[in-house]
């Protein structure tokens, strides 16, 4: 055979080895970046702990002038951001990943705390901001996915209520109590608790708009804070 046509096995082996090394480097860099994300999430968790604690202290300290000085919007926004990031982590590591499960469990506690606080502000300051506790599961519940879509969309158009999403299969005492109290069962998911009233099964957008009187609230809010809607 003409020498140039001859197969140099060593070159093929070298190419394979270098390719595998590049893959390995890619995996290491990717893994490193994700590790940092987990760290970032833990530090975010710390922030929210401080945030919620300070809010509670404010809540207890200024009993007299509670309604004037209580501003929960940054707390709410940070909670929502953690929620989005957690959803993303679920996508990266899967629902089953123990780190994700732990973070979600902790997140659900933060939500319960926020919910209680908001409820109290509602009662003491005669606000009536709607509070929705949303029970769902990632495990074989198509309607839950749809319900999630509807709630996200609803908030985008009417940012006038709070949603607290609770994964049914998480196991902690606070959640267990809530499930017991509202009679939440797996086969009846998704379930919404709207201002104490329990709604089983998928709720479409229009019925939620009506139930929460969102059109009226939107009109009022637009009149009161026109700068928010420019």
């Amino acid at each position: 055979m003409i020498s140039r046509k001859r197969i140099k096995t060593s070159r093929y082996v070298a190419a394979l080895a270098i390719t595998l090394v590049i893959f390995l480097i890619g995996f290491i860099i990717g893994g490193e970046i994700n590790e940092r994300k987990i760290d970032a999430l833990y530090s975010l968790e710390q922030d929210i702990r401080v945030e919620s604690l300070s809010n509670e202290l404010v809540f207890q300290l200024v009993q007299k002038d509670l309604c004037g000085s209580m501003n929960m919007s940054s707390y709410t926004e940070e909670l929502a951001q953690i929620g989005r990031r957690l959803t993303y982590m679920e996508g990266v590591y899967g629902y089953e990943d123990p780190r994700v499960v732990r973070l979600k469990s902790y997140y659900s506690l933060l939500q319960v705390r926020h919910w209680l606080l908001s409820d109290e502000v509602n009662a003491k300051c005669s606000y009536d901001k709607p509070l929705i506790v949303y029970f769902y599961t990632n495990d074989g519940c198509g309607d839950c996915e749809d319900q999630g879509l509807v709630l996200t969309n609803l908030y985008r158009h009417y940012p006038l209520f709070n949603t607290y999403s609770m994964e049914y299969s998480l196991d902690n005492p606070a959640l267990a109590f809530l499930k017991e109290r509202y009679g939440i069962e797996r086969h009846r998911l998704p379930t919404l608790v709207v201002n104490g009233e329990v709604l089983y099964g998928f709720q479409d957008k229009d019925s939620l708009v009506e139930r929460l009187e969102l059109e009226r609230r939107l009109a009022e809010d637009m009149a009161a804070n026109p700068e928010r809607y420019e």
């Binding site: 055979m1 003409i2 020498s3 140039r4 046509k5 001859r6 197969i7 070159r11 093929y12 070298a14 190419a15 394979l16 270098i18 390719t19 590049i22 893959f23 890619g26 995996f27 860099i29 990717g30 893994g31 970046i33 994700n34 994300k37 970032a40 951001q81 989005r84 990031r85 993303y88 990266v92 590591y93 899967g94 749809d146 879509l149 509807v150 969309n153 609803l154 985008r156 158009h157 479409d204 957008k205």
Partner: protein, 421 residues
């Protein structure tokens, strides 16, 4: 957690990176300039220009082609130019006859028989030791013959290929073709190092006349006569040489329709010819048999896979979006409103590897630009190609495979070519 999409990306990156690394190693392995220009080695060369209806613009394209040959550095006494009129219905023949004063021979078919027949007719009348075809829409640089001819000092070399590029690409389609041709120049540069060029394009590939005399002329029943000839040379165990810095320019097709039907013919012809010469897929034929041809086939399969996966994902996402619209109604607000959180950007191997691959391929293109002494810019074509070819290229492949499986015939010039024997 690896999804199907991850697996597809990994597979593509693995094949892409492996071939790239292998190419890089081939470039880096020491090789010397094999053939020096030689004033004494000057065999006679015959160039055949097949033409059909070149009358528009007063034969401007033909004039450029012939003049580039007349102006070339090769001794005139050793250069024979033959124009073959393939039954043109306009005044092409008269235009061609004007060049007789320069010693150009003119042959003519009364009725069009197709390009391959025309080139074969010219080759039968050619008196040169080396022959080449040159389309009437192409032209050569003056030193091309001086660079190509010395290859034939090696008795094993049966053909020598120049770099074929698009001249002055303007439209989007031409930019895409520019990059397509440049990639081919790069790949042929590598294949040449491995003694494994599967395709010596019809545009100005010099062929030893004695090979044609011994093994037959271009197969007029093949829709890719150049590929068929190249495979025949490989099959006989000879070498096809490549001279990267010898430049021939062509204009490329103008319309999308012509673009698709040209690739349909090339790709379908590739399938047919590779099946015909499938015995080449064997270590006996060196790097061609164990690497170049298998990788081409793997690429075709991957292209198919990616195409159908992309289409499926498109439909999947569309149906999901429609379902979402069904649930919450349509609103422009939902489409245009998004917030950016860097945390939500995934950087892992499925983003890192394609990124690496992208830059490796771009650097290959700069390498080949330098080696092939190319003056035109390559960045615009590179992006035009990467933006569009994954779709239009694979669309052409899907069509080609469909034509092949359905046994539909393909039209080229005046002839229909069967995709099944």
């Amino acid at each position: 957690m690896l999804t199907l999409q991850d697996w597809i990306i990994y597979l593509l990156c693995f094949v892409g990176l492996f071939t790239s690394v292998f190419f890089a190693l081939t470039i880096l392995s020491p090789h010397k300039m094999r053939y020096r220009r030689d004033q004494k080695f000057r065999p006679k060369v015959s160039i055949i220009i097949p033409m059909w209806n070149e009358g528009s613009a007063n034969g401007e394209r033909l004039r450029k082609t012939v003049e580039s040959l007349l102006a070339c550095d090769y001794p005139k006494s050793k250069l024979e130019i033959i124009i073959v009129n393939d039954g043109s219905t306009d005044n092409s023949l008269n235009l061609a006859n004007q060049y007789r004063v320069h010693g150009v021979k003119v042959l003519s078919y009364r009725k069009s028989r197709g390009k391959t027949h025309a080139v074969n007719l010219g080759m039968r009348h050619a008196t040169g030791e080396l022959v080449a075809g040159l389309d009437a829409d192409s032209f050569i640089m003056p030193d091309v013959l001086d660079k190509l001819v010395p290859c034939f000092k090696d008795k094993n070399v049966m053909a020598a290929v120049p770099s074929i590029k698009i001249w002055n690409p303007r439209s989007f389609l031409q930019l895409v073709q520019y990059q397509e041709f440049l990639s081919a120049v790069f790949i042929r540069h590598i294949q040449s190092e491995l003694g494994a060029i599967p395709l010596a394009p019809g545009a100005f590939t010099l062929i030893r006349k004695s090979f044609i005399d011994a093994h037959g002329d271009l197969r007029a029943d093949s829709m890719v006569e150049d590929l068929e000839m190249s495979m025949r040379i490989q099959s006989e165990g000879y070498l096809i040489e490549n001279v990267t810095y010898a430049n021939v320019y062509t204009s490329g097709v103008k319309t999308f329709r012509a673009f698709v039907s040209q690739r349909l013919r090339w790709f379908c012809g590739f399938i047919i010819t590779v099946r015909k010469y499938n015995h080449l897929l064997h270590p006996r034929y060196g790097n061609l048999g164990v690497f170049i041809l298998p990788v081409s086939i793997i690429y075709i399969l991957l292209t198919m896979g990616v195409f159908f996966y992309t289409i499926a994902m498109l439909f999947y996402n569309l149906s999901r979006w429609l379902w979402e619209v069904h649930l919450v109604g349509f609103s422009f607000k939902d489409i245009f409103e998004f917030s950016f959180d860097p945390f939500l950007v995934t950087i892992d191997n499925t983003t890192i590897l394609p990124f690496i691959l992208f830059f490796v391929i771009l650097s290959f293109m700069y390498y080949i630009k330098t080696v092939s002494e190319e003056k035109q810019g390559i960045l615009m074509p590179f992006f035009a190609f990467n933006f569009s070819y994954w779709l239009i290229g694979s669309l052409c492949w899907v069509l080609a495979i469909y034509y092949y499986i359905a046994g539909k015939s393909i039209k080229w010039g005046p002839n229909y070519f069967r995709t099944r024997p």
